[in-house]
């Protein structure tokens, strides 16, 4: 039963396994999310900006 490890009150209501599971999973997911998103944000376009898919990049005369 899941409830076996639950403390009703106290300084820390999470057992070590649950806490580790949560922290490791969330750190990995958050880290990868930010890593890929920042990579996109700071990646320079490889092709001529007027030829890429995004018209906000187009240079106007």
């Amino acid at each position: 039963m899941l409830t076996a490890n639950v403390k009703k009150k106290g300084a820390c209501n999470m057992n070590t396994t649950a806490l580790l599971f949560m922290i490791i999973t969330e750190l990995v997911i958050t880290g990868l999310t930010f890593y890929f998103f920042f990579k996109v944000l700071f990646m320079k376009p490889k092709v001529n900006v007027n030829e890429d898919s995004y018209f906000d990049n187009n240079e106007t005369n």
Partner: protein, 604 residues
């Protein structure tokens, strides 16, 4: 000549729109409930394994199929598949990529309209002073279109139509002018709302504001791993299913968004960025809101009972009451933040569902953007009204099962076979890596070729023959009892019970037990039957029909309990299936007409 001139405004806009497509109501309502029901923290292991072996490969497949089709002016799957498969049947498999979107939008917009309505009711203080039963009854009354919860008559229908018109209007503004703008505002706002609620939930203190547990008790409950669940096929199937829903795979919307990406531009990094952003919202934020708050106030046993019927009930029937415990101002803020967050998650997904249909009309029939958007809106209205009017008759569940579950698995399975084995992985891998801003690990080449199609075939066949009580040891050559949610059992109406005819003069008890109470209100007669396990099941019918039992009578399944004139749920269920089938055939016919047109023009 292709007149479809849609384009994305910026790369970040595309990623936020794609992440918004994936982030939906399921991230907050479905994922935590699935985790609770399937081994707590241990659920995350099969979930992440399925993400790596099925989610990421399918993201690569769908992004590259989309960009490949876009090079030839195909923005939807029928003609992209036709080009990839070089066979007459593939374009009809591609029909799923339009069909699923329309059918899912039909019931998804309805849930979205609930969230919109609950934002209004939270802000206007409707829930103030209501007890827990009052808040739950509010939801039940809301779903009954003839019972107005406010002074607005037919409120449910009005909110649904308003929500659909809003979606259609945004779609008519195009990708960069509508969809992308909503994603750029909606996604950051959703994350801010999510962080606000997660912080409030985690720091919930027992004894404060009526809470009986700390917020961390809920987190402990959710994250404590039950390793034995890892050997249960049910848990793996649930994890694979969750990955489908959460990433909007097998639907055709990812391919459509990606078809507007230039062939020289990256898709690999885009796919990873959008995919992981969805995981962040689901695992980090989704797990930290609904379960910690509800366990904080209701306790673990009550939450287990509430989650057995899914996350929708917990979110709409319970949370508004729990937010009331935080005081006047915070409860309004929390209600607006939670239902606003659900609304934003919903609308960014429903907009993605509209884009393939619009693109199909624009590509194949040269419709203008605005006409295409309103065409989609009308189709969703026609298909969606039955879910609103006959929600309690099972129409909503039928749409969700056939369009929102089975179709996705079938489509993704065939799509992965097409990509890896028919189109060929040599060409497929070139498509994935062309213009890539990251080095895609070579291991994905083998995963895409062998592992992903095998997993998808297994998921499909398991859904087809799923055994009762998910006891896979019962599978034998002599046959076995099927789970009522298995595809074969659904087709055979195994779950219907004794009321199997469309029209009847008697209504038969669908459970055995003792009649607990017989009562009536202005419009309905009710019979509550107490089952052997102590739970009660209530049956209701119009007041014109006669009650045939009394309190304390013993009834068995199949005994007549009402007499009069009845239209049984099976009628509505079969009509919904007929509607869905008609939609699929209608789109297939349009694809056939467009194919002949293209052949004549030599533009295939």
């Amino acid at each position: 000549m292709n007149t479809n001139k849609e384009a994305w405004g910026s790369r970040v806009g595309l990623i936020l729109a794609m992440a918004g497509n994936a982030v939906g109501l399921g991230n907050f309502l479905r994922f935590p409930v699935q985790a609770v029901q399937n081994g707590g923290g241990a659920f995350i292991i099969p979930y992440l394994v399925c993400f790596l072996l099925m989610g990421i490969p399918l993201l690569f497949i769908e992004w590259s199929i989309g960009r490949y089709g876009g090079q030839f002016g195909h923005h939807t799957t029928p003609f992209t598949f036709n080009r990839m498969g070089r066979g007459s049947l593939w374009k009809y498999i591609g029909v799923f990529g339009i069909f699923s979107n329309i059918a899912i939008a039909a019931y998804y917009c309805y849930i979205e309209s609930w969230t919109m309505s609950y934002v209004y009711h939270s802000a206007s203080g409707t829930f103030k002073g209501l007890d827990q039963i009052g808040v739950a009854s509010f939801f039940d009354n809301y779903l009954d279109i003839f019972t107005s919860t406010t002074c607005i008559p037919y409120e449910t229908v009005i909110f649904f139509v308003f929500c659909l018109v809003l979606n259609t209007w945004i779609l008519s503004k195009g990708l960069s002018g509508g969809v992308e703008k909503v994603a750029k505002i909606g996604m950051p706002l959703l994350i801010i709302f999510g962080i606000f609620l997660a912080v409030k939930a985690i720091f919930l203190k027992a004894g404060t504001d009526g809470a009986i547990n700390d917020g961390t008790v809920g987190l402990n409950f959710l994250w404590t791993p039950q390793y034995t669940s890892l050997t249960n096929p049910k848990v793996w199937l649930a994890a694979a299913g969750q990955i489908f829903f959460t990433l909007s795979l097998g639907q055709g919307s990812v391919q459509c968004y990606a078809s507007y990406v230039n062939k020289k531009d990256d898709i690999a990094l885009n796919a990873m960025s959008a995919g992981w952003m969805n995981e962040f919202v689901e695992v980090v934020l989704g797990s930290a809101i609904i379960i910690p708050i509800s366990i904080g106030y209701l306790g673990i046993d009550k939450v287990i009972e509430l989650t057995s019927s899914g996350g929708l009930g917990l979110g709409f029937r319970t949370l508004p009451y729990l937010f009331q415990q935080w005081g006047d101002i915070l409860s309004v803020m929390a209600g607006v933040a939670f239902f606003g967050l659900l609304f934003l998650a919903g609308i960014t997904s429903s907009l993605a569902m509209g884009t393939p249909t619009m693109s199909f009309f624009m590509d194949e029939f040269k419709w203008k953007r605005s006409k295409a958007a309103w065409g989609f809106g009308v189709m969703v209205l026609i298909l969606g009204l039955p879910t609103v009017l006959f929600f309690q008759k099972g129409v909503f569940d039928e749409y969700d099962y056939w369009a929102g579950t089975v179709s996705l698995v079938v489509f993704a399975m065939l799509e992965s076979v097409l990509f890896a084995w028919v189109f060929g992985l040599k060409k497929g891998w070139s498509e994935i890596t062309a213009g890539a801003d990251i080095k895609v690990p070579i291991v994905f080449r083998y995963i895409i070729k062998y592992i992903t199609p095998v997993i998808l075939i297994l998921v499909f066949f398991s859904s087809l023959i799923r055994p009762a009580k998910d006891d896979w040891s019962k599978i034998s050559l002599k046959g076995w009892e099927l789970h009522h949610e298995s595809i074969i059992a659904q087709l055979r109406h195994d779950h219907i019970g004794p009321n199997k005819s469309y029209f009847a003069d008697n209504f038969y008890a669908e459970t055995s037990g003792i009649v607990d109470s017989v009562y009536s209100d202005e419009s309905y007669n009710y019979i509550s039957i107490k089952k052997e396990d102590g739970k009660t099941k209530t049956f209701s019918t119009s007041k014109d029909n006669i009650v045939l039992v009394q309190e304390n009578d013993i009834v068995n399944t199949g005994d007549a309990i009402f007499s009069g004139r009845f239209i049984n749920n099976v009628f509505y269920i079969d009509m919904s299936r007929l509607l869905l089938l008609s939609l699929f055939l209608l789109i297939s016919l349009m694809v056939f007409i467009a194919y002949r047109k293209r052949k004549k023009e030599g533009s295939l």
